[in-house]
């Protein structure tokens, strides 16, 4: 898929996110919107997956560690054909397969239950190690956030991946500089992240998380690196595409009201028009 088509997909995913979170009346729009481009690229271009066979044993695994951004996961899965887009409207409702935080056994395409932060990379390491033990060729992706870099468990997993040279892992960090209580560098300074991962025996590639060609290039390179796990630090804008949410940590976990949702959709539609 050409990157212009991917940008259109990402735009639709962003509209879905706004509609879902607004209808639910709660949820996490900022991180979800910021990762829409990367999710479109991962699910429509990079990963070897088959929505008709969500449990295909040789599929690439995509773990989501920061489960709160699941609106972007659900919207992407629906747009990719794992289930009908109509179901997106049930987010967070009683009986829905679209749980407030993703649940592995609830929905096809969800590789791991998450929500409690800092536990995705460890599971991705386990899956990558199993691939090695089972002589499987699948690649393991792990989407994670910058807030999760506060968690000790993240670094336990990073150390393990480095020790075992789990080169079949590509981790993708949403470097959007926000968490709940404020900007990451105020709450708990993380920099220099590149050097931290490099010293843990990872290869690090930094990209603009909204430049699809750059991200796709990095992901393709990462697959070919055979001696180390790869961390793609994706510099993103939280709330990307919705002017009044961009860069504002207060939209981490707050739903837009009806008026705000309308405004957000109007802006996204205007962006879509330019893509046509």
């Amino acid at each position: 898929m050409a990157s212009k088509e991917l940008r259109k997909k990402a735009n639709l995913i962003r509209q879905d996110i706004i509609n879902m979170v607004a209808a639910a009346g709660s949820g996490h729009p900022a991180g979800a919107l910021g990762m829409a481009d990367i999710f479109a690229a991962l699910y429509f271009k990079i990963a070897k997956i088959n929505p008709k066979r969500p449990n295909w044993p040789d599929r690439d695994r995509i773990f989501l560690s920061n489960g709160h951004i699941c609106p972007v996961l659900y919207a992407t899965l629906a747009r990719r054909g794992y289930f009908k887009t109509e179901e997106l409207a049930t987010l967070r409702r009683l009986g829905s397969r679209l749980q407030g935080h993703p649940h592995r056994t609830a929905l096809p395409g969800v590789e791991n239950t998450s929500g409690p932060l800092g536990q995705g990379l460890g599971q991705a390491c386990g899956s990558a190690l199993a691939a090695r033990l089972n002589n499987k060729k699948y690649h393991v992706y792990c989407v994670m956030s910058d807030g999760e870099q506060d968690c000790g468990s993240t670094w336990e997993a990073a150390m393990f991946a480095g020790k075992n040279r789990l080169s079949n892992i590509t981790a993708i960090m949403d470097r959007n500089n926000i968490q709940i209580d404020g900007y990451t560098e105020d709450v708990m300074p993380l920099e220099p992240l590149r050097q931290k991962y490099e010293s843990f025996n990872w290869r690090v590639i930094e990209v603009d998380g909204h430049n699809l060609d750059e991200f796709i290039g990095a992901a393709n390179r990462a697959r070919k690196i055979e001696e180390k796990p790869v961390m793609i630090i994706a510099h993103t804008v939280p709330g990307k595409g919705v002017s009044f949410m961009e860069y504002d940590y207060r939209w981490h976990g707050k739903a837009p009201n009806g008026k705000e949702a309308k405004k957000a959709l109007k802006g996204l539609n205007a962006i879509m028009d330019k893509l046509k």
Binding site: L94, H101, I180, D181
Partner: protein, 324 residues
Amino acid sequence: MNPRLNPKLYTKKVELAAARSGVGQGLVEAGKRDKNIVVLCADLAESTKTHLFAEKFPERFIECGVAEQNMMSLAAGLAREGKIPFVASYAVFSPGRNWDQLRTNVCYNNVPVKIVGSHAGISVGADGATHQALEDIALCRVLPNLIVLIPCDALEAKKACLAAAKVKMPVYLRLTRPKTPIITTPRSPFKIGKAQILNPGKDATVCASGPLVYDSLMVAKKLKSESISVEVINNHTIKPLDKKTIISSVKKTGCLVTVEEHQIAGGAGSAVLEMLAENFPIPAERVGMPDAFGESGEPRELLEKYGLCCSGIERAIKKVLKRK
């Protein structure tokens, strides 16, 4: 009118407030009274209402980032130097994720760290099972030296917070997320380890913990019209348990229903029944989560679905009465 109860309790005008707001205010008051009070939080200041303390005493508010395990160890270190640390997060993360630090650094060291676990129970709502702590009472009540408190409303939560600040032991304070009815009054007594009989009765005892005390009282009122007299106990201290009040109540009524927003296994009901099995065994039913994870939904819908509500409590009372 019983002076211990909110005069509006049985009316539609009963006020609502979140227990975590009560603790937020309690912390500010405790902070004014004692300079040694410090508050630690792991990237959840507003949700845990510790931002109120942070605004008043920024130098005594410690932001730990998303690092609950380290937060607990830090608190243990502060406590051994004479500070009185309150660590606040969601109950699934604290005392969930950092239970070993709680066990060894806090309880075994026996230093007075106070753990504020908010968003306990299924009434967390839409965030779903991952965020609904239904195991935290079990985790805490097995730890030596740890006091376990479950306030029934925001006013009691504030008092429990102030009592926790004073007692020289580790304390777990369990709180729910939504606004729930105010059951007590600012002047109602609160003493750690002293359960309160909020509605006297003679046919059955309901021993409830947390905001479900309200539902229990409503059921007692309803059953009165069916000539069933229900004694309702606000069992706010799970450890140390008020054996005397509970035993003397069931000696009178001859049967018991326990009520809590927690797994049936290992919770407040288990604590009460273990104690009664050794002292005064009687027929009993437990209202709680039936060995299941929660799910997303509106708090009210979820409480109803799992019977953590008036109808569930009423069913349990009628069932246990038949077993007398």
